[in-house]
Symmetry: C2
Subunit: 200 residues, 2 copies
């Protein structure tokens, strides 16, 4: 016998589509949304629709924004000579949490992945190259993820960018801080070994 | 510098209000809702609003339903003589997962809790007593949670119901199946001891 029918079942179903939300969590969330003040449910639904309506890609760096250009691109205090290339908007947030970086970003919206039919045309590489040809940028930091596809994308971009006479760098690979060598995987350890630095 | 402004920040904020969703998960969900096909976001928002509009309490047992009476109360095959009293609608779902029980339910929508200003009038106790006075029910199983407030509520209800000549029972306390005695807490172990049964 199906206990949850109609609109409750539908709500649970839609919630369970969200990443990381299993059927049990979906049920818990559904009950919460039904028991909370009506305003809570309406605000959430409204925020979803409003975000979908107003959020678009920054015309410069392709990050998410609800203005013509994002907050970073619109800020004249950012260093206009250093550009950090990331895969996704969430990577920009991760980078900003570090605080040290004061340059600009470019969001690729993916990585090269023949398996998923993602070639250069599916990413924002054309826009990136147009930006670089503007001549203001002196260094590009390729901050794609340290995995096969991220590395391949970085390599591909490096070959495209180097002829422009721009310095191309990649985030260091190595042991995460606080990790123990005993449990580090082989590849990480090899990278840490290759990237070893002189202690002065 | 605040990177997330306007509608994205608002969406993250609303998602982070959900129980069990921290700021990081909220961000992940927000990005998902922005990147997913528009339909996914619209369906979720629609399901939330629709559920809030159509779901109400069953006029008999106070469980959630979008009809006048819930699926259990509307089913003539359910045993009309046994009534299981639970705290919340989600408890009905937990009970139904067990499968063995074929009787009816009554949802209290809370427990007695002087601390939270929840007295008998805030629960569906009046409706419960009216149902019981109908005379059809022979046994009431008090399935409130095995904690102080659940136990107090069960005790309170038992005293109300017993004068009607209806059998009142409580779910057994004891060791959870698969648990080890070594790690059982004292109170559980005491209850398991008190409730010991003869092996025949």
């Amino acid at each position: 016998m199906k206990l949850q029918t109609g609109s409750l079942a539908r709500l649970v179903e839609e919630l369970a589509r969200l990443p990381g939300i299993g059927p049990k969590s979906a049920q818990r969330l559904a009950f919460y949304l039904l028991n909370a003040p009506l305003e809570v449910a309406e605000k959430l639904a409204g925020a979803i629709l409003e975000a979908r309506k107003s959020i678009r890609y920054c015309s410069v760096c392709a990050n998410l924004t609800d203005a013509e250009t994002c907050a970073v691109c619109a800020d004249p205090r950012r260093n206009q000579e250093v550009l950090c290339v990331v895969e996704e908007p969430k990577d920009v947030l991760a980078m900003e949490r570090v605080r040290g970086f004061k340059g600009l970003y470019h969001v690729l919206h993916g990585v090269l992945s023949p398996r998923d039919n993602l070639g250069p045309a599916q990413l924002t590489i054309k826009q990136l190259m147009a930006r670089l040809k503007g001549g203001q940028i002196k260094e590009v930091i390729l901050a794609t993820n340290p995995n096969m596809e991220g590395d391949a994308t970085a390599l591909y971009l490096a070959e495209l960018i180097r002829p422009l006479g721009i310095k191309v760098t990649r985030l260091a690979h190595g042991l995460p801080v606080g990790a123990s060598i005993e449990y580090a995987d082989e590849i990480t350890l090899t990278r840490a070994w290759e990237g070893r630095q002189e202690v002065k």
